[in-house]
Symmetry: C2
Subunit: 188 residues, 2 copies
């Protein structure tokens, strides 16, 4: 299990001692494509690391779902509001392929944060990395047109383009599927 963790970017900075403590609380699980592992409007008590597979986070709108995040191998999956505020979250997380995950109870993770400063700093850095990535996306959306955002998405996430339905990518990019089709047609 420790060797598994060492292969995941988020965990490479941890000492063997912390990895050992952490691994005692980890349970590997597998789920099929289509499984919703995080549900909106629920306090979700688990934190997952995606070992293999693809996932998306989305919110349910009136007549549409809006995908705002994709996860790949090495991504961490959790309900932000459950993790941060112990309140029901706003996002669903769906596995888009049959996937392998590592599962940790939030309570166990928080205990580690309280008594192991290295883990507390790990949690801080994880939140910071997610923060800077999220803010970049917010800014990018303001500066760049939909076409440019699509080109960058293709360049940065070639795997996702191949494996994820375009309707999800369209909503991730903040346009309708019709607009994405037009962009793709124009760039041939």
């Amino acid at each position: 299990m420790i060797e598994k963790l060492k292969n995941i970017a988020f965990f490479t900075s941890l000492s063997d001692n912390s990895l050992h403590e952490l691994s005692a609380h980890i349970e590997p699980v597998k789920h099929k494509k289509g499984t919703i592992i995080i549900h909106a409007d629920k306090v979700e008590p688990y934190f997952y690391v995606l070992e293999k597979g693809i996932a998306r986070a989305y919110c349910e709108g009136e007549n549409q779902q809006i995908t705002f995040w994709f996860g790949q191998s090495g991504s961490v999956l959790f309900s932000f509001n459950s993790y941060i505020n112990n309140r029901p979250g706003y996002e669903n997380i769906e596995l888009l392929e049959n996937s392998s995950l590592l599962k940790i109870k939030l309570g166990d993770l928080f205990s580690l944060y309280e008594h192991n400063p290295e883990m507390a700093n790990w949690g801080r850095k994880m939140a910071e990395q997610e923060l800077i990535a999220t803010e970049r996306r917010l800014i990018d959306r303001a500066f760049k047109g939909a076409a440019e955002r699509y080109q960058e998405f293709v360049a940065q996430s070639p795997e996702l383009i191949k494996r994820v339905a375009l309707k999800h990518i369209a909503s991730y990019l903040g346009v309708t599927q019709v607009t994405l089709s037009r962009i793709r047609a124009a760039s041939k």
Copy 2:
């Protein structure tokens, strides 16, 4: 100084001991309206808490500035990329009024994180709160039209509407100033 810190929401959870340690590294400063306290493309070595005043963070585009964040009393101001990755940042932070701030050297803050677990958890929670707020804005932008975003901004930030130029609010909301004017005209 400790009493000052206790009045700031971010610091209310800290023990007197941590507040004491922290306050040894804090320098109160005042700056005039228009001062840029965080510069893009520079590693900014200070972390600020806004005691009194208003600030905005913006990125410089080709023929426009895009404001993507406002700070008020109690907000924390820092270059995300300097703080998180020790790299030059992408944002400028400008004081929109004469302001009082508390100034802390990043290096001092990081030392506290390393040897004081309570401070490490404080840093974690701060990043988490910024993260959840940023993600909510990203999602809101996808779900809500510009008019609705404006109404919510008015409801949630009545102070900012009074004190901040509409051109900055327009770019914060992701529309041109002309569009914001139309929205305001329609909602009378």
